[in-house]
């Protein structure tokens, strides 16, 4: 079917081009590595505090870092699209009969592949620090990370198609990612937060993603949070992909 073929073509092209100039991919993994080495050790003492969730310090911290990596790996992808728009690539492809969904999903899948590769590097580096892993749990956790990428990158692409320039895009993306990050319990678990903050955080899809991924890293498969996280991400991903594909279709107008 045309939509699958076109998606594959755009995915393959985007990935080839990203790997040709991998500086962003490398920078994208450097920051979480610094958190891992320079911030993670602080948590060993905090983990003894009351209210800190179960599991070792790194089993609480690494899922948060992974979600942060997935967020940064997808929220800023619109910048690349601005570049392609300026070069006339998007317009040129708009005048082909190719699927508009493929224009979006082909790129988003590239983003997912890159952020999963970054995630694998992080998990590998965290094991010597005391991260305990359970293969089944980690595999499902990575599926959730992929969903975060599929949910966020269409948002970034949509903003890029509307705003058209990096200069207008930067403040909007920053303004969006910072509260998402602060209200997700990425750095410190939200269980340490006052009640009102916990209530606000419940409206943040990433809060549920972090909770689900922590449960998966602890192999607490009966935890309700896993189902909640999956449901929230699946529903929002469908919404954002629909919105993103429409934006590509409308970019032709």
């Amino acid at each position: 079917m045309r939509i699958f073929r076109d998606t594959w073509l755009i995915f393959e092209r985007s990935l080839t081009l990203s790997l040709r100039n991998p500086v962003w991919v490398i920078l994208g993994v450097m920051q979480p590595i610094l958190y891992l080495f320079l911030f993670g050790p602080l948590l060993n003492n905090i983990a003894k505090m009351p209210g800190f969730p179960p599991g070792g310090a790194f089993n609480v911290f690494v899922p948060g870092i992974l979600v942060m990596t997935a967020l940064f790996g997808s929220a800023f992808v619109g910048f690349g699209l601005c570049d392609e728009m300026r070069e006339g690539v998007v317009e040129r492809m708009t005048v082909t009969p190719m699927s508009r969904v493929a224009m979006l999903v082909g790129r988003s899948l590239r983003d997912v592949v890159l952020l999963l590769a970054q995630g694998l590097i992080l998990v590998g580096l965290a094991i010597p620090f005391g991260l305990e892993i359970n293969v089944g749990g980690v595999a499902v956790a990575f599926a959730l990370l992929a969903l975060i990428g599929l949910m966020m990158s269409p948002v970034s692409y949509t903003l890029a198609l509307v705003l058209k320039s990096e200069d207008s895009l930067a403040p909007v993306v920053n303004g969006l990612t910072l509260p998402l990050l602060l209200l997700s319990g990425v750095m410190l678990p939200m269980s340490l937060a006052p009640d009102w903050l916990q209530t606000v955080a419940k409206f943040n899809p990433l809060y549920h993603a972090v909770a689900a991924i922590r449960a998966l890293f602890n192999a607490s498969f009966a935890d309700q949070e896993i189902l909640v996280g999956v449901a929230v991400l699946v529903v929002l991903t469908i919404v954002t992909i629909t919105m993103g594909a429409r934006s590509f279709a409308r970019a032709s107008a």
């Binding site: 076109d6 073509l9 092209r13 080839t16 081009l17 040709r20 100039n21 570049d83 392609e84 300026r86 070069e87 006339g88 690539v89 317009e91 040129r92 492809m93 708009t94 005048v95 082909t96 009969p97 190719m98 032709s252 107008a253």
Partner: protein, 324 residues
């Protein structure tokens, strides 16, 4: 399809309008354009900066909805059946198209594949295009290493990969050196042999004259003249034939002014000036007539009106000044 559809023009617009709303008020970029372009023709769209050429082209290429009026391309309405139109056209924008970090070959291949070619087929076609546009050497370098003219040629090649029935070229030769321009003209003429309809915009009168079967002059969003380059020029004034006559001026004027192909003959400073419809046909006739009377001319000079004269007459401005 019915027999009638064969006689329909490949591109047809009726009352096409496009208004842009901006801070400084509304701009009517296209203000009621009616065009008919026949299959297989090279059609030229000539006009100064801001005349509405790109806007019209973008409407025809399904990139921009018209504010009013209709347009059909290759038998399909651009607003109602954009997909069918896209399957049949190639579009080369005024600037851009290829990606900096991709190689020329990659860009040609992906474009072919997006139009449904297999990998092998697209690869073969890329080789053909690269050779035709003199880019074989640079095929596997990234586009950012190309010169401006090379990049322009690649962008044009990308628009032709899938052998579209209708090819839109927005100022295809701007920024090309004379040799590359001549080469591209050749490629565009070759497209005529394969039945491709080409719709191109240009500022260059020579280009419209050399390349186009038919052209329309657009100014302030309106078509001010339309026809073949020769028709348009003839409409202005006809050709001017200047003859050196060795002091036999009066006799020559008397002889020639009675001929049916001569509009007017006048003697001016030892030279006879003839206004004729078709200079190329008048020359041998004049020679024959003068020879028969033993009045062989010393010199003959044929001046043909240029498209610039046409533009001047229709708009009151010179295209060269407007474009500068």
């Amino acid at each position: 399809m019915s027999a009638q559809s064969n006689t329909q023009p490949t591109i047809e617009t009726v009352g096409l309008r496009r208004t842009f709303k901006g801070r400084g008020g509304a701009v009517e970029a296209v203000a009621g354009v009616d065009l008919r372009v026949n299959a297989g023709d090279i059609f030229g769209f000539l006009g100064p900066n801001g005349a509405g050429k790109t806007t019209t082209l973008r409407i025809l290429a399904t990139l921009l909805p018209p504010t009013a009026g209709t347009a059909s391309v290759a038998g399909f309405d651009v607003a109602r059946h954009p997909r069918q139109v896209r399957e049949r056209i190639g579009y080369v924008a005024q600037s851009g198209g290829s990606y900096r970090e991709a190689t020329g070959r990659e860009e040609l291949i992906i474009q072919g594949r997006l139009f449904g070619m297999s990998k092998a087929e697209a690869g073969r076609r890329a080789v053909e295009i690269l050779a035709a546009l003199d880019l074989t050497e640079a095929a596997d370098r990234t586009c950012k290493t190309y010169s401006g003219g090379m990049r322009r040629r690649l962008n044009i090649g990308i628009g032709m990969v899938h052998r579209p029935a209708v090819l839109f070229l927005d100022e295809p030769t701007t920024g090309l050196d004379p040799q590359a321009r001549a080469r591209l003209w050749e490629e565009i003429r070759k497209l005529r042999e394969t039945g491709t309809t080409v719709f191109l915009t240009t500022h260059y009168l020579e280009e419209a004259d050399a390349l186009c079967d038919c052209l329309a002059i657009i100014d302030h969003g309106r078509i001010v003249a339309e026809g073949s380059p020769d028709d348009l020029k003839r409409e202005i004034s006809g050709d001017v034939l200047t003859i050196g006559v060795n002091g036999n001026g009066d006799q020559v004027v008397k002889l020639l002014s009675g001929q049916p192909f001569v509009r007017e003959a006048e003697l001016d400073d030892g030279l006879v000036r003839l206004y004729v419809d078709r200079g190329e046909e008048a020359v041998p006739q004049v020679l024959r007539l003068l020879d028969a009377k033993g009045l062989a001319p010393s010199t003959m000079d044929l001046h043909r009106p240029s498209l610039d004269d046409v533009f001047l007459k229709k708009t009151g401005r010179s295209l060269r000044e407007s474009a500068a």
